[in-house]
Amino acid sequence: MLRALAAAPVVVLAGQAHARDYSSAAEVLDEIDRLEADLDRRLARVAAAGAFAASVHADHERHRRERTVLRRRLGPPASPAPAAPAPLAPIDVESLRTVAQDLVHAHAEGLPALGDAAAVDTLARHMVVDARHLAIIQMWGEAEEQRG
């Protein structure tokens, strides 16, 4: 990561001081699994986000199926069963935004570790969908701010 950060333009990565350096495709896929499940779980608790949460969940289900195919092809071992999730603090838009952003960044930062053009294409397309979810949550937060 240090090499990438050094080479990557400051403008683009200015907000990514904590950017993660993934060492393998398995590590990338595991982190995406974790963050995706976290976001789904949080969104499911927001009654006002019902239709959006269902849409996000459906997208994530499709992404999970496609990542399963990727895992089989790239050969990383299957993820261990996820640990029981910690109890969730009260949900607010900011915490949703943080997890959604972490999920999008995990895709972006994970691409260089994949080492496979088809896998990059698949995860980049997933990232586009997740970035759209993030943009919607950001607009939601902006609307809340304006309402005070």
Binding site: R3, A8, P9, A51, A117, D121, R125
Partner: protein, 163 residues
């Protein structure tokens, strides 16, 4: 999308790849082709936003978004110029014949902005897997995230479906 890419000046192998006509090998030359195509789209977007802001063509209340997005595109431009120069290549400059003279105001101008954002998003999405080097791949990924935000905001403003 292809029409917008053409209007921005995108040509050659990158345009062929976008139209599905040619598979690009993952080489340094391909990285430079993609950088050039991306830069032309960024130049086009900066010019369009600049025109809209200068002539107050964005609907009232949306100038802040337009200003933010123009700033993002300027950042993307500078980033990619720096990458090209670091590799010893000459970056393409902005065209001097953008024709926005008859650009409409209001929601119709937002539609023009949306068009260039959709073109940029699709171009980066379509080309990203052909990028060879980790530094540019990472930069392109973060640029793509910005393009998706721009596109989603304009789609919502125009009442289009966003999920």
């Amino acid at each position: 999308m292809v029409a917008t890419a053409r209007a921005a000046g995108v040509a050659g192998p990158a345009l062929a790849a976008l139209t599905g006509g040619k598979a690009l090998a993952r080489t340094e030359e391909t990285d430079l082709e993609i950088l050039s195509a991306a830069l032309l789209l960024e130049h086009h977007a900066i010019a369009l936003y600049g025109h809209g802001l200068k002539l107050a063509l964005f609907p009232p209340g949306l100038r802040a978004y337009a200003t933010e997005f123009r700033g993002d595109h300027q950042g993307h431009r500078d980033t990619q110029i720096a990458i090209m120069e670091e590799r010893g290549a000459a970056a393409p400059v902005a065209r001097d014949d953008y024709d926005f003279a008859h650009a409409p105001a209001g929601d119709d101008f937002v539609r023009l902005a949306l068009e260039i954002e959709v073109a940029a998003q699709r171009a980066y999405t379509g080309l990203i897997s052909h990028i060879r080097t980790s530094d540019y791949l990472l930069s392109a990924a973060f640029i793509l995230i910005d393009e998706v935000r721009h596109m989603t905001v304009w789609q919502r403003v125009l009442g289009l479906r966003i999920y």
